[in-house]
Symmetry: C2
Subunit: 434 residues, 2 copies
């Protein structure tokens, strides 16, 4: 039986999961691959902690380059994370003709175009299923399953921390801070949660999926990103009254000559499947020209679910090595010559329905002044919810659901309304997707 | 650019969809494959009907063997259906060294073991993504994505007709007959719906998935099959009161030294994602050792969704042809030497919770006699629902939800209870899965 030798860079949560899985499921994998996947060497700065692995100590090193340079090794698994040293490792592995499996969404989202170009020159496979939505096979589905489909749109709940926090607030009435603290205690939110809760992690994933879906170069910079830190329990309750849930959604839609790419809190009808995806679970919907909507749900993070995606990539590349089928599928679904220059639609031009909440004086004529300004911008109101103010309250929440409007118009209308003397503070704005 | 030539057998709904997709998405497919997929010939008994295809008439024939024997053709797409002539076509194509793509679940479920053995001898690829759950990439997920996972269980809503009928009864209060008639009018239920509504179509799919999941030979004969024809609107209403929906579920579970394989109406908690899968939509859940639950939803039938699965298989095989990577993935996920002889657990030995409805006399002591008999078989009752009888009614429905019990015990207890003079007719029995 042939042996495929693997070098792992990084023994954090996912790296440890991959090593454990390769050791534990060795026989199972051989029974499907007709070859053995063997961990030849592992690099990590900490090689003293016992991670419950059977690999002998002399195969551990603190020197990542020693693993990359090892001529025995066929595939490098990069699980260091970050963009600087990981990129050096990528470039060195490519130069040495080593195939690479990674879970590094930031690296692919920021440097994918360059890395794939270099890899193509060296005939090197790069696989990155684990970089988006954990164990959900969304990369394989986009690259392979949907080969004959023109993709119309994609959307995803792709950050477990945000979905956990929103679920806790929605279903258990937790505060944002308590929910975040619980996510951190449970081990899936980072000590510094900024990347997650501000939406950047989700944007990394959207940049990758948009490229696979629409054949555009990986474009992170032009994605509109808004996190969940301004979502209040009050808005979540109002959403519920109107029959919606609030989720942090990544949206990639084909429009006329451009692609929408936006990450923001989104109101979704309660009977939409996304509304039932709770806690740290991830979900992605892709709408293809032949398939219609396809909806994939699974664990989006965690040691073993992410390791599962890495192992499936390892098996895929191993199959290529065994059958001599290198670069069998283009990195980003489309061959490099057929990638296009589709731009991202400026956020100002995006159209959708809106939920907007003002804090307004409890006086006659308020509603007509607000809806009057909205009307000037061609925005019509479909539902209004205004509660009578309690005694002594100077302002009450006034909630409106609009018809489809253009983002630019909506923002200008809000600026005008916020400047009225009957309005207190800033309006809360949440986009609605059906 | 390389050209891969395809021969299509059968221009029914799916065959027409495949031909249209290959014509319409020709350029898109080339941009992902760096090769052209060209329809070289099509065989169908009816070559006169205009199906909106651009292929020239002289490439149509009524002779399937002429297509199979055409030395120009690389891949045969078998969309004839049925087991007799389709099998002859398979055997002839294999003998000629032609790769095959099919949507024929009945053929794979009944003759897969033999056909795969023959194909292996000739080095021929057989792909069958379209045979299970339409466009949902469940075959690829089982064969490739889950390569490093020990599968614990799988379950699926895999028949659009049944799910449509149950949805209509549940959500719109339709009668079974009306719902079936509407499914037939909508074009996705067959004129003779027996295969669908009696559960056999779902069993075909389960036989295939169980083999992929557990490495066992394809075993259709030992699957327990119960269709939806005995599900009443009354049971659906009672289920709702207890917080459940009724779905036709295929269940494949690993147990100690065997595999559960059963298709039957199943009560599922309303907050389970399966309960939100309505109308003709299909869904499959797989629970892997590393992934945990993974849930895939999509159109399970119809011209284009099924064609999409066929085209993705065509592209996969084309990639193998281009890179010289024949038989890159074992047909049934495991290499033939590593397939096992796991038996299917006899239905008598299966354990689960039960919903049971009796028509009982409205008399004192009825409840204690029934629960007494259940107790004799070690079956305990967790919830009871008994409505007061209206005047003049000789019997009233008595509904019970049990704890986990063994099927054999449950059946014997029911036989004992049905023989009581206080019970009218047969009890209704529905299995519960959480």
């Amino acid at each position: 039986m042939k042996t495929i030798k693997i070098g792992i860079l990084g023994l954090g949560t996912v790296g440890t999961g991959v090593a454990r899985m390769l050791e534990k499921e060795k026989d199972l994998i051989s029974s499907k691959l007709d070859a053995e996947l063997v961990i030849a060497r592992i690099a990590d700065l900490d090689i003293d902690t016992d991670r419950g692995l059977t690999i002998s100590r002399d195969r551990l090193t603190t020197d990542a380059f020693a693993v990359i340079d090892d001529p025995e090794i066929d595939i490098i698994v990069e699980l260091i994370g970050g963009e600087t040293f990981a990129k050096e490792c990528f470039e060195r592995a490519i130069a040495k003709g080593k195939h690479i499996v990674t879970a590094n969404k930031a690296l692919i989202a920021s440097h994918g175009n360059d890395l794939f170009r270099r890899a193509a020159e060296q005939g090197v496979d790069i696989a990155f299923e684990a970089s988006v939505a954990g164990c959900i096979p969304i990369i394989k589905t986009m690259r392979e399953t949907l080969a004959g489909n023109t993709i119309h749109s994609l959307a995803g709940i792709m950050n477990g921390t945000c979905n956990y926090i929103l679920t806790k607030i929605t279903c258990e009435g937790s505060s944002f801070e308590d929910a975040l603290a619980q996510a951190q205690e449970s081990g899936f939110a980072e000590a510094d949660p900024t990347l997650d809760i501000e939406g950047y992690d989700t944007a990394h994933k959207l940049a990758i999926l948009n490229s696979l879906a629409y054949g555009m170069k990986v474009n992170l910079d032009d994605i509109y990103v808004e996190g969940i830190t301004r979502v209040t329990a009050e808005d979540i309750r109002f959403a519920d009254e109107f029959g919606y849930r609030i989720k942090l959604l990544a949206i990639g839609k084909r429009t006329n000559g451009a692609v929408e790419a936006r990450v923001h809190p989104t109101m979704i009808p309660t009977d939409n499947l996304f509304s039932s995806v709770n806690h740290a679970v991830n979900a992605v919907n892709v709408c293809g020209s032949a398939t219609g909507d396809m909806f994939l749900v699974g664990q989006g993070a965690g040691m073993l679910p992410t390791a599962s995606a890495v192992v499936s990539d390892l098996v895929d590349i191993a199959r290529n090595l065994i059958t001599g089928a290198g670069q069998r599928v283009p990195y980003l679904a489309f061959t490099s010559e057929r990638m296009n220059d589709l731009p991202i639609l400026p956020m100002d031009e995006v159209t959708c329905r809106y939920y907007v909440r003002f804090m307004a004086m409890d006086k006659p004529g308020v509603l007509s002044r607000i809806s009057g300004i909205l009307g000037e911008y061609n925005i019509s109101v479909r539902s209004v919810h205004q509660k009578e103010g309690a005694k002594g309250e100077s302002s009450v929440p006034l909630v409106m659901l609009t018809s489809v409007a253009r983002e630019k118009d909506m923002r200008q209308a809000l600026a005008d309304i916020e400047s009225l003397d009957i309005i207190q503070g800033k309006a809360a704005l949440i986009r609605i997707e059906e």
